[in-house]
Symmetry: C2
Subunit: 199 residues, 2 copies
Amino acid sequence: MEYSPLLMQLIEALRALPGVGPKTAQRMAFQLLERGREKGLHLAAVLQHAMQSIQHCKQCRTFSENEYCKLCQSPLRDSSLLCIVESPADIVAMEQMGHYHGIYFVLMGHLSPLDGIGPEHLGIDQLTSLISKQTIKEVILATNPTVEGEVTAHYLSERIKPYAIKVTRIAHGVPIGSELEYIDSGTLAHAFLGRDEIV
Amino acid sequence: MEYSPLLMQLIEALRALPGVGPKTAQRMAFQLLERGREKGLHLAAVLQHAMQSIQHCKQCRTFSENEYCKLCQSPLRDSSLLCIVESPADIVAMEQMGHYHGIYFVLMGHLSPLDGIGPEHLGIDQLTSLISKQTIKEVILATNPTVEGEVTAHYLSERIKPYAIKVTRIAHGVPIGSELEYIDSGTLAHAFLGRDEIV
């Protein structure tokens, strides 16, 4: 005994979503059918439209349904500063911070040889052509402070060196509001060795 | 700063799925865009088709894109036995068990006055007309052994009484393979009071 063919198809198709196993997919299908048909239809329409229309911004590679994203089109951004991040979500975090007004480049991942993700997947050619064309004075490496992020940052700094542009990395240290007791020793070592003089 | 309008719409629409918050919706949208466009388009198509075509079986109320579901159409099922369950998933569990060959009725929920779910939402009228029409000899109440399931079973038994049909409830007791030490006392009390003589 199984569900009706179409219901089986729906449950199977929902499993394309990350983190959704058979039981969750079943619960989603039942809930949409029982209490959310209109929302389900809306999701279907938006999903189709998004899959067909959202591309990567031709300059910064973030997701955008236009050729160039809003930030790359903006005349208010300082195009002498380039911040390299791993994901579009990182742009949101940087913008919420409010201290940065330059342009971005999104790698859409990080170097991960084990997963077969090399420089060719991170748009490095596009990045170097952007750096060589634009009048960039500083490149800020804002990849995640993880092993992969650090490796990627190191790789990028090596690739950018020939262009004789200032390359910086976001600072590592103790997060604001945290307690030393609970900070891992790697972070604490960074914070200790990179200590600033109080003037 | 926000994502592009269409990406925002997609993230918002994905939140229609149960258990999906803003961060999960974002991760789903990114993953579909990065690595699953075809799966995303497939999901959109199946979702639209399912939302429009899947209805309730006219006899047992389970989900079906046909007027009557496969089980209700089957001539092999014993229509003198009626098993009442809460959800289509319970039919699957019963069928996997393999000891039941009668027909089903799916409540699509249980009585829950706090959530505003009364008898009118559980298709009780459809159930009583099914019972009065068919030559049913036994009704098996297989609602969940939860407070709501028990209340619903009690309510159903009262409603079926006037038809002078045998009404049974699935047995409560210790599950096979469990250890007494870890069984809750309510279940253990049921198992103790309902003990069977070994013959």
